[in-house]
Amino acid sequence: MTAVTTAAPVVAFADVGLADVPTVGGKGASLGELRRAGIQVPDGFVVTTAAFRSAVEALDPGTGLSGLDPADADAVGTACAELRSRVAAAPLPAGLADAVTAAYGRLCDDAGNARLPVAVRSSATSEDSAEASFAGLQDTYLWIRGADEVLASVRRCWASLYSVESVTYRLRRGIPETDLAMAVVVQRMVDARSSGVMFTRSPLTGDRSVIAIDASWGLGSAVVSGDVTPDSFVVSKVTGEITKRTVATKSRWHQPDPGGSGVVETDVPGQLRDVPSISDEEIAALVAVARRIEAHYGVPQDIEWAVSRSAPAGENVYLLQSRPETVWAEKDRAKVATPTARPFDHVINLLGGNRPTSEG
C-alpha cells in the first residue's frame, strides 16, 4: 500500500494505511489499516504531523528549551508553562483551522448530527513506548462536540508534548526538538452501551489459543483507567467456547456528560452492576473481529472496542484501536518440544523419567 505523500494537514481514515505512520502516527495508521481490512471502525480523520509542524514551528519552541538543565525543575517548569500556553492560544496557520473544521463538518454531515461527538487522541510516530508515555502521547479527549472544541482539543494534544515530564525526558535523552512530530486522530464517538479491551492471547499465561475479553458498562475509559473491575471472559479461538466467565460487580461507569460535551464518571445503577455487560452473541462477534485483525497483522493484538447503544444487533461491535501485544511477545516461551527419531520416543522419554522441560 503506498503511503500518503502529501503534506496535507488533514487526511481521512479511508486514505491511510500502515505505511503512513510518519504522517498520521501509529494510531491513525492502524485505524486506516483496519478500515481497509474491512473491520468496522468509527469513521474519522487525522490531523497530520505536517499540520503539527506548520503550527508549532512558527512558535520556535526549540529556542526556549535549548540549554535548559533537566535537573533545574523550576526553570523547566516555567519554560514549559509558557510554551504550553502559546501552543494553546497562538493563532493557527491559514488554512489549517479551515481544513480541520471542514473535515469535522463532513463527519457531522455523514452522521446527520451537526454537533457530532468525537474522540480526539494523540497519535505517536515513535515506536518507542517509553518515549510515547513520557511524551504524553496517550492523551485522549472524549465526547468532544463542535468544531471549536475539536480544534481546542487538537491543540491540547500538541501542548501535551511540552509537559514538564515530556520535556525533561527529551532533555535527558538529548532528543532534539526539531525531531518532534505528532499526529492527532479525530474519530467519531460510539455511543457505547458497553466497552472494553481484548487480547488475542491470554494475558495471564500467553496462551495463543484463547482470546481474553474485559468488558464493562459505558465508555471504555473506565476499563482502561482501572476505574472499574470489568467482567472477564476467556474464549477458545478454536471452538468459540467461552471457557471462563467472570461477571464482576461493576460499580463505576464513564458516560457522556448530559450537559453536552466531555465525560462524567458516576455510579452504575444497581440493576446493572452484577449483570454481564455483553451478551454471548456480542462475545462471538468480538472474537470473530479479533481473529480477523490478528490474522491481518500476523501477530497477537491488544484491542479496544465498544458495543454501540444505537446500532442494531449484529452490527453493533466497533473497533476503536488495535496494536501489537508486547508483554508476551518479548518473553515468548522456549520451544515446547522438538521432533524425535521415532514418534513413540516422546512416550519413552516421558515414562523414562525425562520430564518435559518445564519440570526438568
Binding site: 489459543s209 522438538t338 523419567g353
Partner: protein, 606 residues
C-alpha cells in the same frame, strides 16, 4: 518436607476408627489386603473411581486380580523405569492404593534400557499387536461363555462309563470354577497389557498441549484424539436402531414409559410379522451389545442389559418418540470426524514453530494409534467379559443354593472366591458320599452377618487419602489412570475449607447451568428423570447413554475426564463435573444446583 507433618497429612491408616456394627469385616477380604503397622509410613489414596461402594466378599476379586495384572505388566513385563506396581489395602470395605516408585537412579537407568526395548516393540508394532489382542480377548470371552456349571444328577451319564472318561462330574465343580477365576485373571493381564502404554501416549500429548496452550481444557485434548466409531456408543446406537425399527414395523405403540419389559415382549409376540421382525432384531442386537454393565464392571450387582432389560426398555420410549418426530438419531460421524480434525489443525497452526508442529504431529499420531484400544477395551473387558464372568459365578451360586448350602444364588457373592471353592468341595464330597452338605450350618450365618456388615459399612465416608503426603507425586501410572496429581491432593487437603454447599470434581465438559438435581443411585431408575434436570449419579456407563438426551448437566461420584459421563456430556454439549467422590451423598433430589463444568465445581443453591 518443608511444612510440619500434621499440616500435610491425612489420617493414618492406623487411626481409622471401627464402624459400629461392622465388627469382623476383615474376614471378608484376604489377609494381604489388610493395613499393616508400617503402612502408616506410606501415602495411600482411596480408589473411588473403581470402588465407590462397599466391596462384597466375592467382589474382592476385582481388586486382587487387576492389581496382580497391572503391576506384572509395569514392573515385570515392560520394566517401566520409574515405577513397579500398585499395592492395595482394604479398610472398612473400601480400596486404598499406592504405587511403588523406583527411586534409585541406577535402577531407573537399568530398567529404562529394558523398557526401551520392550515398550518400543509394542509401540513399533502396535497395530498388528492390537489386532492380535482383539483376537485373544474375543477368544477369552468365548471361553468364559462356554463354561458350563456341571449338573450333578443321581447317577452320572452312562457315556462317562462307556467312554471310560475316568472321572466323575463332581470333579468339574472345582475345575470349572477355577477356570472362571483363571480366565478372569487372564482377561486382566490382557486388559493391562496395552493399558499403561496407551495411557502413556495420551499423557505425553496431554502434557505437550498443556505447556503449549496452558488454558486449554482437558476435554479439548480428548476431543482431538477421540475416535469416531467408538465401540462404547454401540449399545446406545443399537437401541436407536430398535426404536426406528419399532416405528417402521408399526409396533411403536407398545413402547411407553414405565412398562414392564416382560409384558412388552409378550405383546410383541402377538403382533404378527412386525412384532416377530422386531424380536429377531432384538436378539441380534443383544449379543454382544447388551453385554454392557449398568456400572463399571467392578461389582457383581452391576448387571448387564441382557441380565435386566429394564434399562434398555426405559430408554426406548423416548427414542421412539424422537423417530416419530422425524429426528435423525444416527451419530453424524462424518461431521464429528471433520470437527476433530479441524480442532487439531487449528491448534497445530497456533504453534510457534515448524519444529513444534512436527512434534505435535508425532504425538497426536501416536495418540490416535493407541486410542482405538483405550476406547474399546472397556467394552470387551469390564463389560462384555465381566458381566459374563459374574453370570457364571451366579450360576455356581444357583448350584450352591439348590444343594442347600446357600439360601439363595446371589449369596455366593458374600463368600470370598477361596471360600466358594470350599463350599464347592463340600458339595463334591456330599454328592460323592451320598450324605448332605454341611455348608448350610456353616455359611448361611456368615452370609447373614456379612450382609449386615456391608450395610453398616455403606454409611462410612472414606477419607480421600491416608498417610503423609509425599514431596512429589510423579508416578506416571497414578497420574494417568486416576488423575491424582499434586494439585488433586492439595484440593483434598484444602477441601475442608469449602463450605458444605460446594462439591468439587473434575471439569469434564464445559459450560455452566443451574437446575434441579435428580439423584439416581441406580440406572434402573432413569425413568424418574425429568426434562432439564441435573443428573447426579455414582457413575455412568454406556447403559446410561439414553438419559443424556433429557438432562441439562451431569454430575458423578466417579470418573475422570475420559470417563463415559464426560465423553457423552461433551458430545451432547452439556456441562459435566465427574469424580466428585461424594455428590450423591451430599446432593438431594430437588436441590437447586449450579454445575460449573469449566471449573469442576457443583454448588448447592438451596
Amino acid at each position: 518436607m518443608s511444612q510440619p507433618a500434621e499440616d500435610r497429612s491425612f489420617p493414618l491408616p492406623s487411626q481409622i476408627a471401627p464402624v459400629p456394627g461392622a465388627e469382623g469385616w476383615e474376614a471378608m477380604y484376604p489377609y494381604f489386603s489388610r493395613f499393616q503397622p508400617e503402612d502408616d509410613q506410606r501415602f495411600w489414596f482411596y480408589n473411588s473411581m473403581h470402588f465407590p461402594e462397599v466391596v462384597p466378599a466375592f467382589d474382592g476379586i476385582t481388586s486382587e486380580i487387576p492389581y496382580t495384572a497391572i503391576g506384572a505388566n509395569t514392573a515385570r513385563l515392560f520394566s517401566f523405569p520409574t515405577t513397579m506396581g500398585i499395592d492395595y489395602r482394604i479398610v472398612n470395605g473400601r480400596v486404598y492404593i499406592t504405587a511403588n516408585p523406583v527411586t534409585d537412579p541406577a535402577q531407573v537407568e537399568e530398567r529404562l534400557g529394558h523398557f526401551q526395548e520392550r515398550a518400543g516393540h509394542y509401540y513399533a508394532n502396535w497395530d498388528s499387536l492390537y489386532a492380535g489382542w482383539q483376537q485373544r480377548i474375543e477368544a477369552l470371552i468365548a471361553d468364559i461363555e462356554a463354561v458350563e456349571v456341571p449338573e450333578l444328577g443321581e447317577l452320572d451319564d452312562l457315556s462317562v462309563v462307556t467312554e471310560a472318561r475316568g472321572f466323575a462330574s463332581n470333579h468339574f465343580l472345582r475345575e470349572r470354577f477355577h477356570r472362571c477365576i483363571d480366565l478372569y485373571s487372564k482377561m486382566w493381564h490382557h486388559h493391562t497389557e496395552f493399558l499403561m502404554l496407551g495411557y502413556g501416549a495420551y499423557v505425553v500429548f496431554f502434557e505437550f498441549c498443556k505447556q503449549a496452550f496452558p488454558e486449554m481444557g482437558d476435554q479439548m485434548v480428548a476431543r482431538m484424539v477421540a475416535g469416531i466409531d467408538v465401540t462404547m456408543y454401540r449399545p446406545d446406537d443399537e437401541l436407536k436402531k430398535l426404536a426406528r425399527l419399532a416405528v417402521e414395523n408399526d409396533v411403536a405403540d407398545l413402547f411407553v414409559e414405565g412398562s414392564d419389559p416382560v409384558k412388552v415382549l409378550a405383546a410383541l409376540g402377538e403382533r404378527g410379522e412386525g412384532g416377530a421382525r422386531w424380536l429377531a432384531a432384538l436378539e441380534e442386537a443383544k449379543d454382544p451389545w447388551f453385554n454392557v454393565s449398568v456400572g463399571d464392571g467392578f461389582y457383581h450387582h452391576h448387571l448387564s442389559w441382557a441380565d435386566d432389560l429394564t434399562v434398555p426398555f426405559a430408554a426406548l420410549p423416548r427414542y421412539v418418540e424422537q423417530v416419530r418426530a422425524g429426528e435423525d438419531l444416527t451419530r453424524p460421524t462424518e461431521r464429528l470426524a471433520q470437527e476433530r480434525d479441524r480442532i487439531a489443525g487449528e491448534y497445530r497452526a497456533l504453534l510457534g514453530s515448524e519444529e513444534e508442529q512436527a512434534a505435535f504431529d508425532q504425538m497426536l499420531g501416536v495418540c490416535r494409534m493407541v486410542f482405538p484400544y483405550v476406547e474399546a477395551h472397556k467394552f470387551y473387558c469390564e463389560h462384555w467379559f465381566t458381566t459374563r464372568f459374574f453370570q457364571k459365578i451366579r450360576a455356581f451360586g444357583t448350584l450352591l443354593a439348590r444343594r442347600g448350602v446357600l439360601a439363595e444364588a446371589d449369596d455366593v457373592f458374600h463368600l470370598r472366591h477361596v471360600e466358594v471353592e470350599d463350599a464347592l468341595a463340600d458339595v463334591m464330597l456330599a454328592w460323592a458320599s451320598g450324605s448332605t452338605e454341611l455348608g448350610a450350618r456353616h455359611w448361611q450365618p456368615i452370609v447373614a452377618e456379612r450382609k449386615r456388615i456391608v450395610e453398616a459399612l455403606s454409611g462410612w465416608s472414606p477419607p480421600p487419602a491416608l498417610g503423609a503426603v509425599p514431596e512429589a507425586l510423579n508416578d506416571p501410572a497414578v497420574k494417568m489412570l486416576w488423575g491424582i496429581t499434586q494439585e488433586t491432593v492439595e484440593t483434598w487437603l484444602g477441601s475442608e475449607e469449602d463450605d458444605q454447599s460446594t462439591v468439587r470434581g473434575y471439569a469434564a465438559s464445559p459450560g455452566v447451568v443451574e437446575g434441579v438435581a435428580r439423584v439416581l443411585l441406580n440406572v434402573n431408575d432413569i425413568g424418574q428423570i425429568r426434562e432439564g434436570e441435573v443428573l447426579v449419579c455414582p457413575v455412568t456407563a454406556p447403559s446410561w447413554g439414553p438419559v443424556f438426551g433429557k438432562i441439562a448437566a451431569a454430575v458423578s461420584d466417579i470418573g475422570g475426564t475420559m470417563s463415559h459421563a464426560a465423553i457423552v456430556a461433551r458430545e451432547y454439549g452439556m456441562p459435566a463435573v465427574v469424580g466428585t467422590g461424594s455428590a450423591t451423598a451430599r446432593i438431594r433430589t430437588g436441590d437447586r444446583v449450579r454445575v460449573d463444568g469449566d471449573r469442576g465445581v457443583v454448588t448447592v443453591l438451596g
